[in-house]
């Protein structure tokens, strides 16, 4: 454990190796930031106002926010216990579980969407069961949530697993030996110590969910979320007219993750 404040904060600039590494890092950073800068340079205030003041222009934003809020809540509730059990080795065949989590990450989203049609679409047994619950997984809000969950869930569970694994199990044992009931240990030890990592994981999950496209395109073209709006706008009226919506997506999807990252970095430094 590093004593607080003792960690090296300043990088010693010495040697040609350091210089090369710095240049490479700078190139990567600028390249990554490039698209955002490009976006800003191609947008005029005028075009933004025109695009966003059309009637119903912001409806896709509301749809995306609502669907992502539901998707992230579902992921949080279902993924947290799974991540914790994986981190503590409480699940048999941990590798198999992890492979299952990686699957949606490694499968192209378009393929995920395609397979979802055959899994939960209206013509399938699951679809029939869903129909009894008045749910349809094709071009509905529910379908949008399903697609977003599939695209985003691995990011949360794998990140949360790492966050929980970083909490020393000896601390939990110590807490229970001091007379703590398990839920209190979870609340007072496990969760606070894992919180920074959980926040990072959640931030990525939110961004992924807001931007989910491939699977959404196939099973939830309607109800028209932001990514769909960008896609149809650029198809129908050209690249330029899609840019304002791209900006909206960035503005909505990014602040939360950025805030979470900054907070978690600070929290980590405090420990």
């Amino acid at each position: 454990m590093i004593a607080s404040g003792a960690g090296p904060r300043r990088v010693a600039l010495a040697g040609p190796g350091t210089l090369v590494a710095l240049v490479a890092a700078g190139v990567v950073w600028i390249a990554l930031l490039g698209p955002v800068l490009t976006l800003l340079s191609h947008l005029s205030w005028h075009s933004i106002t025109i695009a966003l003041t059309q009637p119903g222009a912001l409806q896709p934003l509301v749809v995306s926010l609502e669907a992502s809020a539901v998707a992230v809540t579902v992921i949080l509730l279902a993924g947290t216990p799974l991540a914790y059990m994986l981190a503590r080795g409480r699940l048999p065949w941990a590798r198999v579980w992890e492979a299952g989590l990686l699957l949606p990450l490694l499968t192209p989203p378009l393929v995920v969407g395609l397979l979802l049609v055959f899994m939960v679409g209206p013509a399938t047994p699951i679809g029939a069961a869903l129909a009894h619950l008045q749910l349809t997984a094709a071009d509905t809000f529910f379908a949008l949530v399903v697609a977003e969950v599939y695209e985003a869930v691995p990011y949360y569970v794998l990140g949360a697993e790492a966050a929980f694994a970083a909490v020393d199990p000896e601390l939990e044992r110590a807490a229970s030996l001091l007379g703590d009931p398990a839920p209190r240990t979870w609340r007072r030890v496990t969760l606070p110590l894992a919180a920074p990592g959980l926040a990072s994981a959640l931030a990525v999950t939110w961004a992924r969910s807001m931007g989910a496209f491939g699977a959404v395109l196939i099973i939830a073209y309607h109800p028209f979320g932001l990514p769909m709006q960008i896609w149809t706008t650029l198809q129908e009226t050209g690249l330029y007219s899609a840019l304002p919506f791209a900006l909206v997506l960035l503005l909505v999807a990014l602040p939360l993750p950025l805030a979470a990252y900054i907070w978690s970095a600070r929290a980590r430094r405090r420990l």
Partner: protein, 318 residues
């Protein structure tokens, strides 16, 4: 108070122990690294399932073979592990008063008697190793444990600090009448902490008893080795083991032999002397703590106790 007779399994060998303690009584568990000392403490803490026997504390069975250990929180067993296991996100005071329903006044009193008042608002990361151990001790005592398990709590500390802390802990345990088990590989520490010592080797308690009597009467060569015996003298089928602290200038008592100095180096205020014995039918190497320097090749008359005696066949490698 504590009535434990159990066995737990481990990858290399099973670990078994039979320990009885009265309220407020202390015992030291002495053994080499990997002998199973920590395993015994973990079993007492309920972290390991028993394969045989049971553990009773104050009349209640807290672990039983074939059953899952009862909830750790109901055991009233405290454990100060080697890593202290302090909660890094809580202050010293919050750590000490972590137990549900802990009385802050009690926590304050423990902190005061362990010399922690000045750092109650600090985080564990800002503390020294010794301070962390104190916090862990105060935390366990504030939680109201009836049995305190100490896993080499003084080992990483410098000697004066370790001695001071040991005195404070012993005083606290006496005042609260809490039973305690200390795990250590250091004989002097074991003796200073408790009058009773249990010697552990390869998962079994080989011998248990009063620390002074034990030192003079090891029941086996393995126990003798752990108690600090280093020298061995052979005659015929007899083997006498010799403790370096019990070798003295020739007097009327014990076995008198002539020894040749092989090596002599300083050891604290005394000297550690390596000698060869070849006299009166006795042959072997012995080591001694000697008050003065002895040059190599010098011949000295020494007396050693004629016990403990074992057979030549008993395993011994010094």
């Amino acid at each position: 108070m504590l009535d434990a007779d159990f066995e737990v399994s481990r990858r290399d060998f099973p670990v078994a122990a039979r320990i009885r303690l009265e309220a407020g009584e202390r015992i030291s568990l002495l053994g080499a690294s990997g002998a199973g000392k920590t395993t015994i403490l973990e079993a007492l803490a309920g972290f390991l399932p028993l394969v045989r026997g049971e553990i009773r504390l104050a009349g209640r069975p807290i672990s039983k073979a074939g059953h899952r250990a009862g909830a750790a929180r109901l055991r009233r067993v405290g454990l100060v592990s080697q890593g202290s296991a302090l909660f890094p996100h809580l202050t010293v005071m919050q750590n000490i008063c972590y137990a549900p329903g802990a009385d802050p006044a009690v926590g304050n009193a423990r902190a005061a008697s362990l010399g922690l008042q000045a750092m109650l608002g600090s985080r564990p990361a800002a503390l020294s190793e010794g301070e962390r151990r104190r916090v862990a001790l105060a935390r366990a005592l504030t939680a109201g444990c009836q049995l305190l398990c100490l896993d080499e709590p003084f080992s990483a500390l410098d000697r004066p600090l370790a001695e001071e802390l040991r005195r404070q802990v012993a005083a606290e345990l006496d005042a609260l009448s809490v039973a305690a088990i200390l795990v250590t590989h250091d004989l002097e520490e074991a003796q200073a902490f408790a009058t009773r010592i249990a010697v552990l080797s390869r998962g079994a308690i080989l011998q248990m008893g009063d620390s002074v009597r034990l030192l003079h009467n090891p029941g086996s060569t393995a126990v003798a080795r752990l108690l600090g015996y280093r020298g061995s003298l052979l005659r015929g089928t007899r083997r006498i083991l010799v403790h370096p602290d019990l070798v003295r200038r020739a007097d009327a008592k014990g076995l008198r032999v002539t020894a040749t100095v092989i090596d002599c180096r300083p050891a604290g205020a005394q000297f550690w002397v390596d000698m060869e014995v070849q006299a009166g039918g006795w042959a072997g190497r012995i080591q001694a703590r000697w008050p003065t320097y002895l040059p190599p090749a010098e011949r000295v008359e020494v007396s050693v106790p004629a016990t403990p005696e074992f057979s030549r066949e008993d395993p011994w490698n010094a």
